[in-house]
Amino acid sequence: MMRQVSEVIVNVTVDAVTAIKSFLVNKDNRKPIRIDIHNTGCCDCSLDLSVDEVRENDLIQEIEGLTFTISPEIHELAGDVTISYVNEKVKKGFVLTSSKPLNEWDGFGVCDLKQ
């Protein structure tokens, strides 16, 4: 059973909302956005975003017409998540930070929204 939360567990910047909506329109997709752990090798994991289904026990939050979902275990581990978007000369993508950083590189890298 999923749970619509009343407290704020996900913060999304205006730029990030715009980028996500643009991505979804281009893909003709209105599914929820999942926040999950992703490991890209040697040592430290990070948070990332993907278009996914809502699953049992997921926490979900609606923001600006977008649905964000996260498993309770990941929320317990990472805390509240802030999603921003950078579009700079050499850095482009979503930056995810959390109130309980997963490691010392929290927010250092960027990720794409995966289909």
Partner: protein, 886 residues
């Protein structure tokens, strides 16, 4: 609780902010130390210290041997701290003591091995014997120099080893370093800093700052005073570091993630393979980037193998890391534990079969700790996330396959390529499989074996560059090319002259090592000549006409037992295939010397054979300028014409049908070792060939004098050649059997060859090459027809030289200006040609008038034209000359 400080500029100090953070024992979750937490100001101070130290030369200016001596002191201090380092590493990182106790010894060995390699074997300076630029001669060499200020950012899985992997090569190669250890595991790096301080490594050469990667990384990877970043960690962070470093174009080496395949072949020793699969995955709790976390198992032994792995995994003892009986300790952090749990859930959700594990483990007597059971997933599809993403924990995916080819394809179906293994009782088969996997390291019947001299690094998204070994040392140097001009003279510099009106090249090097044996009966000298060359098996190369005339047989007789055969299939205007065919015969006969008997075509072919016989391959491989670095197959040349001078020159002209033109091997090392000028070999030369080849020699001589590369030695050779041709050509034209005149003509051709092989030729040759290539005008005849026209054209720049030519041609130049004498020389050449019956017009040689413009455009691009004494820039000039010759 112990307190650790930052190490900056040779001193331990608090963070500028005064902040500290705790390090936690992952086996108990108890804090064990506080560490000063560096921020931006500390990172900048460390960079400044490193930059000062580097620029001062206090370290970078030492010889490699002197640095080795200091590294030995450093290693000795590490030895003194060995027990402390091992215990601290164990408690700080969760590494079992059975492993951690070796880490200081391995670090010491690495320091010593790399220092020794740098001081004794590393190619700090390297000569480049062949520069590839014929116009800028000089000594060419490279120096490998330290890059400067390096940053090393290391992960938490092997903190001490990773610290040594960054410290050793950077310092040993003369750089200064800022090391940033992982925040979970900073202690061993700070203890190593104590060792460096105690060893007297100069202040600023090594700096260690602990603190948050995101904040410090942003400074370290963007600061303009940092020259190189070496990072070991996640692909996501590595990618960002590479982007950041790009702004100031830092050198970057990255050692990133992996999802390596450990391929079990169906003939593998089952016990060994099961051990290899479990060790390859569960060693150090699976927190190793090159772990074999995809175990590929043949379908026919799959179930049996999985069952044995399960049994072995369940027998592993999980315990506190300081307990010497523990096979596996804790994961490094609760975050890592949660990550592993998350991936196990993903695996179950994806439909993989959990065979064993998949749960936390409680260790008796300990409350807390991040322990996790060795976990095996079976029935894994390689597309699943657990097979594609690195979990970095004790979780293995066992994947079924049906053939070796499928196993390799599965292994390569990954964004990573860091490690991998093959287990098989058939070494050849295992090597074939290993070759097919695109990865940086493959172990056969082994896993996790690192060696100081063996490079480590990744393919694909597993990284950039290599660590360890000499390859790893190279990553900490930058190459400087040094060119030292042969002649320090503006007027000998052909490239400077591109911006100068002075086109003459004053300086020169005269290198004509061919021994010339000349005179009646000279042929008999070949018997000793071949012995002097250290040879016993001479192959005679010739053409059908010369062979038919019995000249090759004379040579064979003179060689006695030293002749292994006569090959007479050399065609006129030889092509690359002619060289390759002759070379094949020479190889088959195991020839160790080539004797060429013929005109320029035969001798040029023989030069090509000598090169391919010596170096392997075929003639097309060697169509280059000045690339040979050692003596070629010995060559004795016996000319049967008196024209090309090929018996002493450094050129072989060969037709390339693919290129559609004649191409060259040009190299002093193809000059024949011996030239035998025996007049009996030219007595039977027909008159027309006698005349046209003589005019080729005359053109060599005159153009050598008027070229931009002319010099006094070559002038002397050329003038004597001109005199001899002028005096003797009419004699041999009248009587081909005049042996004395024939010998003089041979000497003239050889001297003209010596002259032009150093001084080059000019426009007449460029124009003759063109009508030869486009309209098959014999080269000597074309040279003769065109030469007087070009001499008149060159009067503008070469009147003095052509006046000397006139004198050599026996023209009475008294009371003449140089210009008038030069013009008289051209007239004298034409008079000589008329006297000996040489053709006088191109129209008589089959050249159509309408092709003159096309010929002009070809000729202006001919290499010979570069050296013409009067610069040729306007094709209309050449059209005018062709028209005069028409």
């Amino acid at each position: 609780m112990e307190q650790y400080k930052l190490f900056i500029n040779g001193k331990f100090q608090d963070a500028a902010s005064g902040k500290t953070f705790e390090s936690v024992d992952p086996g108990t979750e108890a804090p064990i130390a506080t560490i000063a937490q560096a921020g931006k100001a500390d990172a900048e101070a460390a960079i400044a210290a490193a930059r000062r130290a580097f620029n001062s030369g206090v370290w970078s200016g030492l010889t490699p041997a002197a640095r080795m001596a200091k590294i030995h002191d450093f290693a000795d201090e590490v030895a003194k701290q060995g027990l402390r380092l091992a215990a601290t590493e164990c408690m700080d990182s969760g590494q079992i003591i059975g492993l951690a106790k070796f880490s200081p010894l391995l670090g010491i060995g690495f320091l010593r091995n790399m220092a020794l390699a740098a001081a004794t074997k590393f190619p700090w300076e390297e000569e480049i014997p062949v520069s590839g630029n014929a116009f800028g001669p000089g000594r060419e060499f490279i120096r490998r120099e330290p890059i400067g200020v390096c940053v090393g950012i290391i992960p938490w899985n092997f903190p001490m080893t990773m610290a040594f992997w960054k410290i050793a090569p950077s310092l040993i190669m003369g750089n200064c370093l800022i090391l940033k250890p992982a925040s979970y595991t900073s202690l061993s790096a700070l203890i190593i800093a104590e060792c460096a301080q105690a060893a007297g490594i100069p202040d600023g050469v090594i700096n260690v700052i602990a603190g948050p990667g995101g904040e410090l990384g942003s400074v370290l990877c963007t600061h303009p005073d940092v020259d190189k970043v070496a990072f070991t960690g996640s692909t996501e962070v590595g990618r960002e570091i590479m982007r950041m470093a790009a702004d100031t174009v830092k050198k970057v080496t990255l050692e990133l993630g992996g999802k390596s395949a450990n391929i079990i072949l169906d003939d593998a020793d089952m016990e060994l393979a099961v051990e290899g699969a479990c060790f390859g995955t569960f060693f150090h709790q699976g927190q190793i980037c090159e772990s074999g976390t995809r175990v590929l198992v043949p379908a026919k032994i799959y179930d049996q193998f999985v069952e044995k792995m399960k049994k072995r995994a369940e027998a592993l003892r999980i315990g506190y890391q300081l307990d010497p009986t523990s096979h596996m300790g804790p994961l490094v952090s609760k975050q890592q534990l949660a990550t592993v749990e998350r991936y196990v859930k993903i695996g179950k959700d994806e439909g993989a079969k959990l065979v064993t594990g998949g749960k936390r483990v409680e260790v008796a007597g300990i409350k807390g700790g991040y322990y996790y059971a060795p976990t095996i997933f079976a029935n894994v599809n390689n597309k699943m996330r657990i097979a594609q993403e690195e979990i970095f924990g004790p979780v293995v995916c066992v994947i079924k396959y049906d053939s070796d080819e499928e196993a390799v394809a599965i292994a390569n179906d990954s964004i990573y390529g860091l490690g991998g293994g093959v287990f098989s009782s058939n070494q050849a088969r295992a090597e074939r499989v290993a070759r097919g996997v695109r990865t940086g390291t493959m172990w056969i019947n082994n896993y996790h074996i690192f060696s100081d001299y063996c490079p480590f690094g990744g393919y694909k998204q597993s990284g950039v560059g290599r660590e360890l070994g000499v390859a790893g040392l190279h990553e900490y140097t930058v190459i400087k090319r040094v060119h030292v001009n042969t002649m320090a003279d503006a007027k000998t510099n052909m490239t400077f002259q591109l911006m100068s009106d002075y086109k003459k090249v004053d300086g020169f090097a005269y290198n004509c090592p061919t021994m010339v044996i000349a005179g009646h009966g000279a042929l008999s000298s070949i018997y000793k000549a071949i012995v002097d060359l250290g040879c016993r098996r001479a192959l005679v190369l010739t053409d059908p006409g010369v062979n038919k005339a019995g000249l090759a047989q004379k040579v064979k007789n003179a060689l006695a037992d030293f002749c292994v055969g006569i090959y007479d299939k050399i065609p006129p205007d030889p092509d690359l295939e002619a060289v390759d065919a002759a070379t094949a015969v020479a190889r088959e006969l195991k020839a160790d010397c080539i004797v060429s008997v013929g005109g320029g075509s035969v001798i040029d072919t023989a030069k090509g054979v000598c090169v391919t016989l010596k170096n392997g391959g075929n003639a097309n491989d060697y169509l280059n300028f000045l690339v040979l670095t050692e003596p070629q197959t010995p060559h004795i040349a016996i000319p049967t014409t008196s024209g090309t001078g090929s018996e002493v020159t450094n050129v072989s002209v060969l037709t390339s049908h693919k290129a559609g033109r004649k191409l060259f091997i040009v190299d002093a090392r193809i000059m024949p070792n011996v030239a035998i000028l025996d007049p009996i070999f030219s007595l039977s030369l027909p008159k027309d060939m006698t005349v046209s080849t003589a005019m080729d020699a005359m053109t060599h001589a005159i153009e050598a004098m008027t070229s931009t590369m002319s010099n006094k030695i070559c002038d002397g050779m050329a003038l004597q050649a001109i005199r001899l041709i002028n005096e003797n050509l009419p004699l041999v034209a009248a009587d081909g059997k005049n042996e004395k005149a024939r010998l003089n003509m041979q000497l003239a051709a050889t001297m003209a060859g010596w002259a032009f092989t150093i001084a080059q030729v000019g426009l007449a040759h460029g124009m003759a090459h063109t009508v030869g290539a486009l309209h098959h005008v014999p080269h000597g005849a074309a040279c003769g027809i065109i030469l007087p026209k070009v001499m008149r054209y060159n009067v503008e720049t070469s009147a003095d030289k052509l006046a000397q030519v006139a004198h050599a041609l026996n023209v009475n130049t008294s009371n003449m200006s140089d210009r008038d004498a030069a013009l008289a020389a051209a007239d004298a050449i034409e008079a000589l040609m008329v006297k000996v019956g040489h053709p006088m017009r191109l129209r008589d040689m089959g050249v159509p008038e309408e092709s003159i413009p096309v010929c002009a455009f070809h000729a202006i691009a001919d290499t010979a034209v570069i050296f013409n004494g009067r610069p040729v820039n306007d094709p209309n000039d050449i059209i005018a000359l062709y028209t005069q010759a028409y």
